[in-house]
């Protein structure tokens, strides 16, 4: 075989190889979207996005069907939301979107999502809780404080020192109860004076908190995957006593404690979804909803439809999915969301 023949064969093979090249752009998913939020059935989903990628987003779900509108904040305001959309709070027809790694809170109209203000001056904000008509607290992962927000001027007016990483909060009877994922205490703030007044020893790593119909606090602690295991605590806020503590199996991480509409059942994540009555004295041994390989990440209870929404973040680097279940744990449908969907806000809750 001559040199030229060999060369021609080689180059033909190479050209054939490159002829089958793969595209390096995504399939075109562009479509016209219509966004009309319903104040009765609608829900917003905060999609955290990827850490440091500035691709947090907000999805809107109408309450029925198997589709949602993605990136609605961007759609309305023509700007990205930021980095790590952590939580959502509605106050007086306004939506407060805590964007953790962008160290800000975006304030929008609850229905139109039109941007109203941006609250800055925060370090690593996590959750926002209104405590009076004009005042809210914002927990923080790393500042060692809870920030005080003026809801009229949308500004930080002060801080309340709290050791560690403050997380979810609830308001009850003039006091704010603050969980902390880096200590073993539940902290108590007097909402009138903004002073830390007490700390209640519970388990390590409090991450979520709810109040039941008997006005008892339920606090879920994730532990640290090591010496401290996950625990669930029932606290009487009137006297600060821990009435019950339940311990999970080692090397598990329990999170996202939610109550049903009548506040007599608890739902939480521990790989799977678990459900227990407020009257139970032990942890459930069988799951309510099996994850079946899904990466359950966010959980919410829709008081209007009595449905449990659970998000699957998959690998936390791709668009997630939200599954809806009824109170028997039967799947009713699912819809797509953004990257790392983690928090639900039901407009009618």
């Amino acid at each position: 075989m001559s040199k030229m023949k060999i060369t021609s064969l080689l180059f033909s093979a190479i050209i054939l190889f490159f002829g089958s090249c793969k595209k390096d752009t995504p399939a075109d998913t562009t479509s016209t979207v219509i966004f009309n939020a319903s104040s009765t059935t609608g829900a917003y989903i905060a999609n955290e996005g990827q850490f440091n990628n500035n691709n947090a987003s907000l999805s809107y779900y109408s309450g029925s069907g198997n589709s949602s509108t993605t990136d609605v904040y961007n759609l309305v305001n023509n700007s990205t939301l930021g980095d790590i959309a952590q939580s959502l709070t509605k106050i007086n027809n306004k939506l407060f979107i805590v964007v953790n790694n962008s160290t800000k809170i975006e304030v929008t109209d609850l229905i139109t999502l039109k941007k109203i203000a941006t609250i800055t001056g925060l370090t690593s904000p996590r959750y926002l809780l209104p405590v009076t008509t004009n005042k809210a607290y914002v927990s923080d992962l790393s500042s060692g404080t809870v920030s005080i927000i003026n809801l009229s001027s949308y500004s930080v007016t002060g801080t309340i020192p709290i050791t560690g990483s403050s997380e979810q909060m609830v308001y009850y009877n003039g006091k704010v109860y603050v969980t902390n994922i880096a200590t073993s205490y539940l902290y108590v703030i007097d909402a009138a004076t903004d002073n830390l007044t007490d700390s209640i020893l519970i388990g390590y790593g409090g991450n979520s908190i709810s109040i039941d119909k008997n006005n008892k606090l339920w606090v879920l602690c994730g532990g640290d995957f090591s010496a401290n295991t996950s625990t669930l605590h029932k606290v009487n806020p009137s006297n600060g006593l821990v009435e019950m503590s339940l311990t999970f199996a080692p090397s598990t991480y329990a999170s996202r404690l939610n109550m049903n509409d009548v506040k007599d059942e608890l739902y939480f994540l521990n790989t799977n979804v678990y459900k227990m009555s407020i009257n139970d004295t032990s942890l459930p041994t069988t799951e309510f909803i099996n994850a079946n390989g899904k990466s359950f990440y966010g959980l919410g209870y829709n008081n209007t439809s009595n449905q449990i929404y659970v998000s699957d973040a998959i690998d936390f680097q791709q668009s997630g999915r939200v599954y809806r279940y009824n109170e028997n744990g039967t799947e009713l449908g699912n819809f797509g969301a953004g990257i790392s969907p983690g928090y639900f806000l039901f407009l009618n809750n």
Binding site: D24, N53, N101, S142
Partner: protein, 638 residues
């Protein structure tokens, strides 16, 4: 040394050739070429960075060099910031950077930050493509970058100093002091960087200036070799490097408070001896490394401390002209502690490796095997076979098959919270085949030795199981063996070289086509299956053009990096970028000393681009510099 490189050295680098005119070699040094460190692995494709390319960018880092001259994708977070290597669709943990055969990757996090490797400290850099775990152990999955010393006995005593100022970054200074006798060679090299990196970039139509991006640091490397006789020598090398960097804010952030300080002390002691048919090399190293990181989002600063001791005896013997055997041991002990471990962690690994090579006429074949033992006892047996043959005077081929692996890093195992002691090593196999064509000989125009043209085409394939990734469980991140990945593609290189008595010119072109897909996942409903991995460009291409006329030279570089997906379902991506740079050098000689002035324009056409999401790169920027070499005239000593 490859022939093209030899030609480059002779024709293009007057500093070297002129500097050696008064030197006289008194001893014929016998180099130990049969051990792994000094011999090209049979069947592997390798790129040696030619001295011209290297000498022009002494003020830059290894990341800059690899980005402009190779098919590797350098995931760079901005000037002076973290840069990691992605080669052949692998992760940042899959390419080893070896200093005299010792891996520089931090054993705790596994990352090799090539922005912290200043080119002014090295003169011998090569890239070995493909998996080579049976040679270099854990992490040699996609390739290995070799940084080796040059020893020059009887070298002329000289001092070389240089400095460069860049409009967008700042000041870099570097120098080299060389001394040699017939028995002793000593070189001291240093560099210092003082960059504020307050460069301009554009975001959403607004012009912005980068803040909090200071990069200050220094490095010193001392290479000393004593020659007992023509066949035996001992080398002691010392490398200290300190870096104090501010981590710039994301494009989406108003400001940043993050700082990182890297402090590395590295020592190596290498004894080499050879006889007519055998060679022995005993390499030892001690690394003492620390990384300090802090920002406002942390409750307390993170401090990671790590000490590593490596000892590696290796023996080779040529049974006759056709058969060579190599055998060696590797003993590595690492002790690490960080604020995120419960206590000190010590990992000891011992490995034994054996290699055989058969060479006859134009054909070589070499099988190798390596087994690692440790107190974790998880590394698989690895083996490989490589072969190469010159078929005609213009056509040759090479190929290899390897089993490959990467141990979990110490952070993967012991980070608290989240560390997973049950992690398995990533493991799999890789194959590649290369065809090389000497175009000049093919076209029968071999009359002119000053013209060189070659074409090289490589196809590669790689499968990895138990890929390790960190994912959250609630608020806690933990690592898992999460998926399997299949990578395949091709690399094409074209080299052209033309010289005559007036002009020298060279043109190097490369193109890499890389598919790297998740084939299976342990996560349910994972849309990443059959999708391209994030930050692996399917297309990367570029060329370097160099022309020299009398005292002037011009270097033009073009690099195209294709779209990179940033979400694993391939719905989000960063758009491709085309970056041009131009450099003009003017060199002149005064008495026995050489001077070179240069100016460089990076990002010539003002491309607005991101290499990493949310981390803007600088617009067009300008550099100016001078390199001076003062030579002491040497008398003959033979």
């Amino acid at each position: 040394m490859q022939k093209p490189l030899f030609i480059f050295l002779l024709l293009f680098f007057p500093l070297l050739t002129q500097g050696q005119t008064d030197s006289t070699i008194t001893l014929k040094i016998v180099e130990i070429n049969s051990v792994r460190l000094f011999s090209k692995a049979t069947g592997f494709s390798e790129t040696k960075i030619d001295s011209i390319s290297l000498s022009k960018i002494k003020d830059q880092s290894l990341g800059y060099l690899l980005s402009q001259n190779t098919s590797a994708f350098i995931k760079n977070y901005g000037p002076g910031a973290l840069s990691s290597i992605t080669l052949r669709g692998g992760s940042a943990y899959h390419t080893l950077v070896l200093w005299n055969g010792f891996s520089l990757a931090n054993p705790m996090n596994g990352v090799m930050d090539v922005s912290l490797i200043p080119l002014s400290l090295f003169e011998n850099i090569s890239i070995q493509y493909g998996g080579s775990s049976s040679q270099w152990g854990s992490g040699a999955i996609s390739g290995a970058i070799h940084l080796n010393d040059n020893t020059n006995f009887n070298q002329q005593s000289s001092v070389r100093i240089g400095t460069r100022f860049n409009s967008s970054s700042g000041l870099v200074s570097f120098g080299k002091f060389s001394f040699g006798t017939s028995k002793f060679s000593s070189t001291l090299k240093y560099f210092q960087v003082n960059e504020n990196n307050n460069y301009k970039f554009e975001l959403n139509g607004l012009s912005k200036t980068q803040t909090h991006a200071n990069n200050n640091g220094y490095g010193i490397i001392s290479e000393n070799t004593y020659l007992f006789n023509a066949t035996t020598n001992i080398s002691f090398n010392f490398w200290h490097q300190y870096s104090n960097r501010q981590i710039a804010p994301l494009a989406s952030q108003i400001n940043s408070s993050a700082v990182q300080r890297d402090n590395n002390l590295r020592y190596s002691l290498i004894y080499k001896t050879s006889k007519k048919k055998s060679g022995f090399i005993f390499r030892n190293a001690f690394f003492n490394e620390s990384i300090y990181y802090n920002d406002n989002s942390l409750l307390y600063p993170s401090l990671s401390l790590c000490k590593t001791f490596i000892s590696e005896p290796e023996y080779s013997i040529s049974i006759n002209h056709f058969h060579t055997l190599q055998a060696g041991l590797n003993l590595t002990k690492t002790r690490a502690i960080t604020t995120e471990y419960i206590d000190h962690k010590t990992i000891s690994r011992e490995a034994i490796f054996l290699s055989y090579k058969f060479s006859k006429h134009n054909f070589s074949v070499s099988p190798s095997v390596r087994k690692e033992y440790s107190n974790l006892n998880t590394a698989p047996l690895t083996y490989s076979i490589g072969l190469e043959q010159t078929l005609t005077n213009w056509l040759s081929y090479s190929g290899n098959y390897n089993t490959i692996y990467r141990n979990p890093q110490i952070n993967d195992l012991y980070w608290n919270p989240g560390g997973n002691i049950n992690l398995l090593p990533e493991s799999g196999h890789s194959e590649d085949g290369t065809l090389s064509i000497d175009v000049i000989r093919l076209m029968d125009i071999t009359k002119n030795d000053s013209t060189h043209a070659s074409f090289e085409f490589t196809f590669f394939n790689k499968n990895i199981d138990n890929w390790i990734a960190w994912t959250p469980r609630g608020n806690i991140w933990y690592p898992m063996n999460i998926k399997s990945v299949h990578s395949y593609g091709s690399e094409t290189f074209i080299h052209l070289l033309k010289t005559n008595k007036f002009l020298s010119a060279k043109f190097d072109l490369f193109y890499a086509y890389t598919i790297s897909e998740t084939t299976s996942s342990r996560i349910g409903n994972d849309a990443s299956v059959n999708k391209q991995l994030i930050y692996v460009p399917i297309h990367k291409a570029g060329f370097n053009f160099f022309i020299n006329y009398k005292s002037y030279s011009l270097t033009y570089n073009f690099t195209y990096t294709g779209n990179r997906f940033t979400s694993t379902d391939n719905l989000e991506f960063l758009v491709a970028n085309k970056i041009h740079s131009l450099q003009i050098d003017y060199s002149f000689q005064l008495k026995n000393n050489q001077f070179s002035l240069f100016t460089r324009i990076d990002n010539l056409f003002n491309e607005k681009y991101f290499v990493v999401a949310n981390r803007p790169q600088p617009l067009r920027n300008y550099g100016f510099g001078i390199v001076m070499q003062f030579n002491k005239k040497q008398t003959k000593i033979n």
